[in-house]
Subunit: 431 residues, 2 copies
Amino acid sequence: MVSITAASVTDLRFPTNRTLAGSDAMNPDPDYSAAYLELSTSDPDLTGCGFVFTIGRGNDIQAAAVTAVADRLVGRNLDGLLEDPSALNRELTWDSQLRWLGPDKGVMHMAVGAVMNAVWDLRSRREGRPLWSTLVHLEPAEVVALVDWTYLADFLDPARARELLEERRSERDSRVALLRRDGLAAYTTSPGWLGYDDNKLDRLCRRALDDGFSTIKLKVGADLADDRRRLGIARRAIGPDTALAIDANQRWGVPQAINAIEQLARFDLRWVEEPTHPDDIVGHATIAKAVHPVPIATGEHLANPTMAKQLLQLRGAQILQIDATRVAGVHDLVAMILLAAHAGADVIPHAGGVGLCEAVQHFAFFNAASVAADPSRLSLEYVEHLHEHMAQPVKVTAGRYRIPTQPGAGTAFHPTTADSFAYPAGAHWQQ
Amino acid sequence: MVSITAASVTDLRFPTNRTLAGSDAMNPDPDYSAAYLELSTSDPDLTGCGFVFTIGRGNDIQAAAVTAVADRLVGRNLDGLLEDPSALNRELTWDSQLRWLGPDKGVMHMAVGAVMNAVWDLRSRREGRPLWSTLVHLEPAEVVALVDWTYLADFLDPARARELLEERRSERDSRVALLRRDGLAAYTTSPGWLGYDDNKLDRLCRRALDDGFSTIKLKVGADLADDRRRLGIARRAIGPDTALAIDANQRWGVPQAINAIEQLARFDLRWVEEPTHPDDIVGHATIAKAVHPVPIATGEHLANPTMAKQLLQLRGAQILQIDATRVAGVHDLVAMILLAAHAGADVIPHAGGVGLCEAVQHFAFFNAASVAADPSRLSLEYVEHLHEHMAQPVKVTAGRYRIPTQPGAGTAFHPTTADSFAYPAGAHWQQ
C-alpha cells in the first residue's frame, strides 16, 4: 500500500519582465510564475507534481490555495484515490465551502487543477507511461466517466460522447503510430511579442520559418495602426504559404473587435485569438458571426467546461484553446476536448508561460489519438523559453512536438530550479 | 491631508453549521465567515471597512488575497484616492498580474471588492452620509463615470445610461422621502432552510406572516418529492396572497430545472432562483423561455458585470440578485444596477450570510431612489441571524428594511466580534 505522505508547495517566479518576452497588450510586464505542488508518497521513488501558472504578483495566494486543497490528500491511500479519480475530483470541486469561492473559477478552481494533475501524474508514473498514453489506453466508457456531466448533458449527452469515442477507436493504434513518427504540429508565438521592435519581429519571423514552423502568431490589440504595420512585416517575412494568427489578449470590446478584425483580415488570418473578455460568450458569438469566415479562438481563460459548452453552443469560437492549469485539471480538460469534438471545433491548446507546453502536450496528443475528427488540422502553441526549468522539457524539432515518452504528466520542474527561483528565498531573488 | 496608515485583515468565522441555519441543497454545512478588512487612516476617528463573505474553509485564502490587494493602499493619500475612485478601481481590477488569477472572478476579484467597498465606506464616513445617500447625490454623469464600460457598451451605451439616470432625476427627492418613510420591502428566507423539518417550516412561515413579510423563500433542489411537500406546507401556511419564491442553489442541470419548475409552478412562484450553474447563461435563457411566465432569478454568484450583461441580453433572468461581496465592489454593483434597468429586470439583492444585509441594502436603496423604473416592484432578502455582529445592524420592522441613517457602507463589524470569532485565535474557537 502506498500513501500520500506530504504536500509541498513552492512559489516559483522567473524574472521574465526584464526581456519583454511574454509581453502582450494586456500583460506588459509578466514575471512567469508557478504555484508548484509536489505530492510525496510512502514510495521514495514516487512523487506527483502539479502547478498553476501565473504571471507574478498573487502567486503566493495561488500557492496558499493549492496548499489548502492538497493538504486534504495527505495521509490517504493512493491506491484508493487512483481507483476512482472521478470521486476525488468530485470531492474537491463540490466541496461546498471551497466552491463558494468560485464557483468553479479563479484561484480555488485552479488550485484543484494543480492537485488533480498531480494525482494523474502519480497514476501515469505508477503505470510507467506518459499521461497521454494513460488517457489513450482508457476505454471509451472510462473516459466518459471522468467527466462531471451535471451542467453539460444538455449539449452533449454522455451516451453520445461514448459513441463518438467508440467511432474513433478503430483508428487509435494507427494514429498513435503516426504521432510517434511525425509528432504534432507546433505553432510559435516567439516572434510576435508586443514588446519587440520591427527589426526583431522580422528577424524572428524568418527564423521561425527556417525552424520549420508552419504557423506564426502575433500579439495585437494595443494600437490598430501598429498592428497593421507589424502584420505587414510578418506577412512579407513569411510569405503567403505560412499561416498567420493574431492574439488580442482581450483588449477589444465587441464593436472594436469587429472593426479591428475587418481591418486586419486582409493579412489572411488563420485565427483571431481572445478578441474580447473571455467571459463574454455572447460577444464572441456576435464577433464570430460578423467576421465570418475568419475563425475565432479562445480558451486559455475559460474558467470551466460550463463556459466552454456555451461558447460552442453559440458558435462563439471555432478553435478551443485549452490550458493545462486554468481549469480543475484532467477531468475538466477531457470534458472540454469532448465538447469541442461534438461541436466540430478544433482543440489547439494554449501553452507558453513556464511548464504549460510540457503539461498541455499530453492533452493535445490524447485528443489527436482518441477524439479529434481530423488530427491533421491540429497544432499546439510553442514558446521557446524557460524549458530548462522543467524536469522533462518538450522536444520540438522541425516545427513539431515530438511525442513524450517518459512516465508522468510533464508537470515536474527541474530539481534545482527552486534553489534559484523560489520566491523570495531563492538565490536569484536574494541578489 | 489624511493618508491610509494600515490595512488589517481578520479571518472571522461563525459556527452556523451547528443549527443548520443557512443549509441548502448545495451548502449543507456552512460556517458563515468573512475575510474582514479595516483600513486605518491618519485620522484616528476614520476607519474604512470592507469584507468578503464566505462559508468557511478557504476564508484564510480569501483573507490573504484581501491583504495582498489592500496593502497597495497603505501610505497613500486618501484625498487623492477619493478624488477619482474609478482610477483606483481600474488600477486594482486591471493589474495584469492579479487579473491573471481570474480574470475578474473568484478569490482575487472579490478581494478587490472588499478593498473598493472599504474605500467607499471611507468616502461616505467623511461625507457623514450612509453610502446609499453618497451614491444618490452623485450627478448622472458621475454615476456613469464609475462604471468600466470596456466590455459593456455593446449592450448599454454609456450615453444611454446617463439618459436613463437623467430621466429618473426629477423623481429622486420624492422617492427618497418615500423610502425614508416606508423603507423597502424585505423578503425572508428564514423559514425555508433545507435542514429544517416540516413542523419548523410551517411554524416559521406563519411567524413570517405575523412579522409582516409579503414574500417568503424556500430552498429546494435536493429531492423533488420533498420540494413538492414542503411547498404545499408553505403555501397552506401563508395562504394565496403572500408571494412564494424558491431557490435551487444551482442543483439542477438545464433539463432537470425545466422539469422541476414545471412540476412546482402550481404553487404560484414569485421566482425561481439559481435553477442551474450561475455561469450557464445560455442554460438560464433556455430555462426562462421554457417555463415562461415563471420569472427566473440569479446573481449572487455572477462573477462580474460582463456575465450580468449576457444574462440580460439573452433574457436568462427577469430578476438580478446582486451581492455586495461577490464582485469588485461599488463600481461593479453600479454597473449591474444600470444594466438591469436598461434590460427592464428587477434588482432584488441577495443577502443573508453575515453582513450581507447590512452592506447590500445601500445598493437597493440607491437603485430604488435613482435608477429603477418602479421601486414598488423591488424587495431585498432578509435573514434574521448574526446581525448582532455588525456595528450598525439593519433595521427591519413590519417586513420592511428601514433606510440606513448612519454614515458609511454598513460594512463594519461590531468591535468585540473578533475577540470571539477570529479564526482560530478567537475565544469561541479556542474552546
